[in-house]
Subunit: 422 residues, 2 copies
Amino acid sequence: MVKKVGIIGLGTVGEATLESIKRYCLLVEKRTSLKIKVEKICDICPEKKKLGDLFSLPFTTDPYEIINDPHIDIVVELIGGINPAKEYLIHSLKKGKDVVTANKALLAAWGEQLFEVAGKYKRAIGCEASVGGAIPLIKSISQGLVGCEVEKLYGILNGTTNYILYKMHKEGTTFSLALKQAQEKGFAEKKPDLDIEGKDTLHKLCILTYLCFGVWPPLKSLYVEGISQISPLDITYAEELNYRIKLLAVAKREKDGLDLRVHPTLINKDHPLAEVPLVFNAIWVEAEPSGELLFFGKGAGGTPTSSAIISDIVSVSFNNVRFIPTQEKIAIKSINDLRTRYYIRFMAVDKPGVLAEISKILASYNISIASVTQKERGKERFVPIVMITHEAKEADLKKAVVKIDKLPVIKPPSQLIRIESL
Amino acid sequence: MVKKVGIIGLGTVGEATLESIKRYCLLVEKRTSLKIKVEKICDICPEKKKLGDLFSLPFTTDPYEIINDPHIDIVVELIGGINPAKEYLIHSLKKGKDVVTANKALLAAWGEQLFEVAGKYKRAIGCEASVGGAIPLIKSISQGLVGCEVEKLYGILNGTTNYILYKMHKEGTTFSLALKQAQEKGFAEKKPDLDIEGKDTLHKLCILTYLCFGVWPPLKSLYVEGISQISPLDITYAEELNYRIKLLAVAKREKDGLDLRVHPTLINKDHPLAEVPLVFNAIWVEAEPSGELLFFGKGAGGTPTSSAIISDIVSVSFNNVRFIPTQEKIAIKSINDLRTRYYIRFMAVDKPGVLAEISKILASYNISIASVTQKERGKERFVPIVMITHEAKEADLKKAVVKIDKLPVIKPPSQLIRIESL
């Protein structure tokens, strides 16, 4: 069987995909009898024509030369962003082509509609490369766990933020220095907001929510918090308390709905997720009847991601990707209803009675304290007081902290990091 | 779509599979539109009829009532062992049925023939449950890594041995005590040889070799060594040297052939495989272009394994399992040609000159020493001398150790454990 492929978008991933298809297409053919033939490549930047020359492939700056080409079976979209990628995918599906995409922002915002179009035209959308890079996570969940109820999922889904937190932990650097290093090494964009503010992780959480629970959650209503406010102090205190700070995507199925959120999280430092180094990604899943599972690998980079794209080209060719119908409505819980344990760091004047004042306010909101760490540091006017709470309601905790932050002995804002018991 | 399933073998996994299908078949139908209907169940033990009553299913003691039933689409074989399972599978395939099996011993010995029969009759063999229990490893390799060349694979593939080594490490117990505890907890069989001698791991390595390299290796010629000779001394010394001992399946693609083996291995204690606890399994894969991947989960137990069986029932129903043609002949390397680093523990008389004698023999076989640890323990006649070698050839090392073991100052046999640099 021959499948003719058009590739739109020739950035890092696009170029690596061309390279990998060239290098591994014979291997794929030997294994599956599928011949992958790149028919045409496209980028709006005319300079990318050099890739056409390099790989001896027709090059165009007009995506519709691929989308409307009746010889092309599969459109691989690697431009990223919502527009015009959305139109390209919809038109491709309508033209009877299967599509393969790494576009998590698009899927998070328009996944439901795109899969509806795919269902209507009986075409497939391969999106293995959109979450976890080279990790075959989408296939593992949609096929391997097809008979499982996912109860909990915790994911380190963004390499940039994991690199920054890892460096802060290992080298004691500040957030801004670690970010700068990540940018120098090419692990962070010049405009890093999408990564460091947690949005990229949130996009991936939306896709995983669809796969695990059959629901496309309303992207804008989900809680997301990035890592830019994490200070070396927090890293150090967490470590002393046997925790590590990771930016986690959390998805839990609870009686009253789905608990979905992205934020820096304290996790036990013995847990496998705590040890995930550098730009690696990892996903911890608790499901029935499978039990606990961990998937780990390279979450980004052109070359690793190209392996996911090739696997999707094969999957859509053999109709291995099926449309998962969205299920009955499941409520999405508000972050204010979250009940969990918290790490709170106050910066307080080091004088008698301060702890009593804080504790009194916390108690008045029904928040009980599991441990307090206060180091004597005489020279600074404000010293850190670190508390670990017992399980408390987010709404209560926030109110209490607002009130505490108004005390004259406190230097606001106080730091608040959620804890997950993994 | 409805698929009718017959299950042969109602042990731990068979019973759990019945239970899981009952509990999750509606979920599967909602997700895939596939209705899994168990049509008939079979066990040679007539007492298992109680399961037929419990699940309101026709029960038989004759497997051919399932194999020859024209209404049954898929035969799930869960009896284990080579005979008569082999005949059951071959007959089922010839009768036009897809098969799902967890039988690693059978696949390791007869996989090539079984997949040939399946190819001839255009049927599928689902074997996700045969390696790594609930971990969707088979699908990840055969589909997720379809465009990847696997370079190296290291697997903790047997829960029993991992439990024993884990307990020996955590609690300092001896092998026999840890084995006894494992048996009491139901993690080890009363006749534990298949597990502790590494054969179960070897069977799984054969299946992974087929998936990764398209070759069914000759089972009997592969090197396998179990964990029964590991002493608490070795665990302690390994720890001091920053290693941990794990029973690993190793598969490496090298210029002159495949390096395939199963043996206790010293690995760096910071590597994710070193931390795999209890009866969990984990597989570390290094491939191009995907990069490093880790898969972790429950490798045994009825309930976790049933999730793999359900996923296979779905996969074979949708023709997602394809016959992988065996590739051109690849040489399988002899263990004697292995070049690696070694941990050697000699038990030697504690007197001057002994170290010189040992070192001289090692040097004469071109083996150079990276480190020596010798603790003063005056009271025992024989004290341990632990050496880590630089890379050496297995054949040379064995000859040297045979010679050293003949020295009057040495109490044979000396302990020899291979090191892998992960």
